[in-house]
């Protein structure tokens, strides 16, 4: 972060007090204190622009997509496909055919594991992931390994919470059939150098899936620049509704993959003798999709673009730096995850206080954080702990809220003194 970037942000680019008015949920008291919502890595809050887009869809346009000739069906289809094009632009993909709507990142990873990896994996093959993964980017691969006899290999990590890439050349070998790696660690906030990692894998023609669930709320993503084969994310972590997310896949790969789920909308014609599958992206969207969710996701992308994702990222960096400095200065507080490049996540331990007690005490002061293993138990095992307390920031958080976090830590320490 350079001083010039900070200056731009601090002066005019973002007016946080104005932005907060877009988020009605933030304006409430919890346990007699103003809500301080610092659990954005678990799920983010929704701006009125997203809430109203979903509301308007149900009030005005609701019908099934790709079916009726009537006006509402046409409007619903336009809204749904319009949202797909917004996701395409958001990820920098070439074509709308490369954007598959899913329930979220988890479903997208399962789709790739079952449709792309499973048919080609054999006993002795390897699937490579990293130590920092969320369970959503571990378990689907364990399942496909169990189904095929392939082996799960893991890129190790070091104390700072960064990946240890010294052995990457050996881990990427002729047995490696796919690399699945997180862009940003949900438990620690580490931003992985995925462009370099992808380049190394591509040099050996190994396909790469990137789990971007924690990255898309905070970073500008360009899948063509990254040259990954698959990129997945969830809407609810980026100010959109729950139950909607997307899979980006390179068109040639998606074309070659068999459908994952069967049903309506993913077929061109069905008879009992023969069914012809629909073209991309519909081949992978069996059944009536979450149309309103897609509309909300499109509205969230518009909202982020209107503020400027670079501005959001710079402001969040500023918040994270400020929070990190303040916690570092506190006795009895240990920050877990000290990577050089981090995004919006501050995991920490208060000496002699279990994170679950921390979570309860914070909640009594209106401060919402996550306490637990963050669906990343291997990371916890690496540090020899069962859980951490995790504060995670969004662009609507303020420096005053960081002070509330610091005060909540002090209260906890006093109570446990």
């Amino acid at each position: 972060m350079t001083q010039t970037e900070l200056k731009v942000v601090d002066s005019t680019a973002l007016d946080v007090e104005v932005i907060r008015q877009d988020f009605p949920i933030l304006n409430q008291e919890v346990n007699g204190h103003p809500l301080v919502y610092l659990d954005n890595a678990a799920s983010s809050q929704k701006p009125i622009q997203v809430i109203e887009a979903v509301d308007a869809y149900y009030r005005l346009d609701n019908a099934n997509v790709h079916r009726g000739v009537h006006r509402l069906s046409q409007r619903a289809t336009d809204a749904y496909e319009g949202a797909r094009d917004k996701v395409r632009g958001f990820l920098g993909a070439k074509s709308d055919k490369e954007i598959i709507f899913t329930r979220g990142a988890t479903e997208a990873i399962n789709l790739v594991a079952q449709s792309f990896a499973r048919p080609q994996l054999k006993a002795g093959d390897e699937v490579l992931i990293s130590y920092l993964e969320h369970h959503a980017n571990i378990v689907p691969w364990q399942m496909v390994c169990e189904q095929t006899g392939a082996k799960l290999k893991v890129i190790p990590m070091v104390e700072s919470g960064e990946l240890d890439l010294t052995g990457l050349d050996e881990l990427l070998n002729e047995r490696t059939k796919i690399l699945a790696i997180g862009h940003v660690s949900n438990a620690l906030g580490t931003v992985n150098p995925i462009k370099d990692i992808i380049a190394k894998a591509k040099a050996k023609s190994i396909p790469v899936l990137v789990d971007g669930a924690q990255a898309v709320p905070h970073l500008v993503v360009d899948v063509q620049d990254l040259d990954c084969d698959f990129y997945v994310f969830s809407g609810h972590k980026m100010f959109a509704p729950t139950g909607i997310g997307a899979l980006y896949g390179k068109q040639a790969l998606l074309e070659a993959m068999p459908p994952w789920q069967g049903g309506g909308d993913m077929i061109l014609s069905v008879s009992f003798d023969n069914t012809i599958y629909n073209a991309l992206p519909y081949k992978f969207e069996a059944g009536t999709p979450h149309i309103a969710g897609a509309v909300g996701l499109g509205a969230a992308i518009d909202y982020m673009n209107s503020l400027g994702i670079e501005n959001l990222a710079a402001y969040e960096h500023h918040l994270l730096d400020a929070a990190t400095r303040k916690l570092e200065a506190m006795d009895g507080v240990r920050i877990i995850g000290t990577a050089k490049d981090k995004a919006s996540v501050l995991s920490f331990m208060i000496e002699d206080v279990h994170p679950h007690d921390v979570g309860t005490i914070f909640d009594q002061q209106g401060v919402a954080i996550r306490a637990g293993h963050h669906c990343a138990q291997p990371v916890m095992q690496f540090y020899g702990i069962a859980a951490t307390a995790r504060a995670s920031f969004a662009f609507y958080n303020t420096e005053q809220e960081i002070d509330a976090l610091v005060n909540a830590i002090k209260t906890t320490q006093e109570l446990f003194a």
Binding site: V353, H354, P355, H356, D357, T360, I361, Q364, A371, G372, H373, Q377, M380, A386, A387, T411, L415, F416
Partner: protein, 148 residues
């Protein structure tokens, strides 16, 4: 803050800092592992039963203040009790903390756990050791229980 003081009473904090019977019983004839997968709390409960009486009971493991203090209190409460008395205490704790019985009041020194009722997300922390000891007494081999 007053609710917090109810939850983290001095007795709770004392048991958290100095858990009683925090050791292995080498000649235990019953034991069980208890896990709360949500928060990662994990403990082992050892029981030495002699002719229907709990001659010794202990625990080891790690967890939050509530789960450690509750386990510590549990061992103090159960030592010397018959299986029948232990069963009644287990029912009492379960009913009082999960609200299954409206009139249930915690017995004796277990009353300090009452503050947990105001914190539904934490009830499982307080009941973990009781579920674990219950499983231990019911089985003569090592068994795992989970509060999820």
């Amino acid at each position: 803050m007053s609710d917090l003081r109810d939850l983290y009473q001095q007795v709770i904090m004392d048991h958290k800092k100095n858990p009683r019977n925090f050791r292995e019983i080498v000649d235990a004839n019953h034991m069980a592992h208890g896990n709360n997968p949500l928060c990662g709390d994990a403990l082992v409960v050892y029981v030495k039963l002699n002719d229907g009486v709990i001659e010794d009971v202990s625990f080891q493991g790690s967890g939050c203040a509530i789960s450690v203090a509750s386990a510590s209190l549990m061992t103090e409460t159960l030592k010397g009790k018959t299986l029948e008395e232990a069963e009644k205490l287990y029912d009492n704790v379960h009913n009082a903390l999960t609200g299954e019985s409206e009139n249930a009041e915690l017995a004796g020194k277990l009353q300090v756990l009452g503050g947990v009722k105001e914190f539904p997300a934490r009830v499982k922390c307080a009941t973990l050791s009781w579920h674990t000891v219950h499983a231990a007494m019911d089985n003569d081999h090592d068994i795992s229980v989970s509060t999820e």
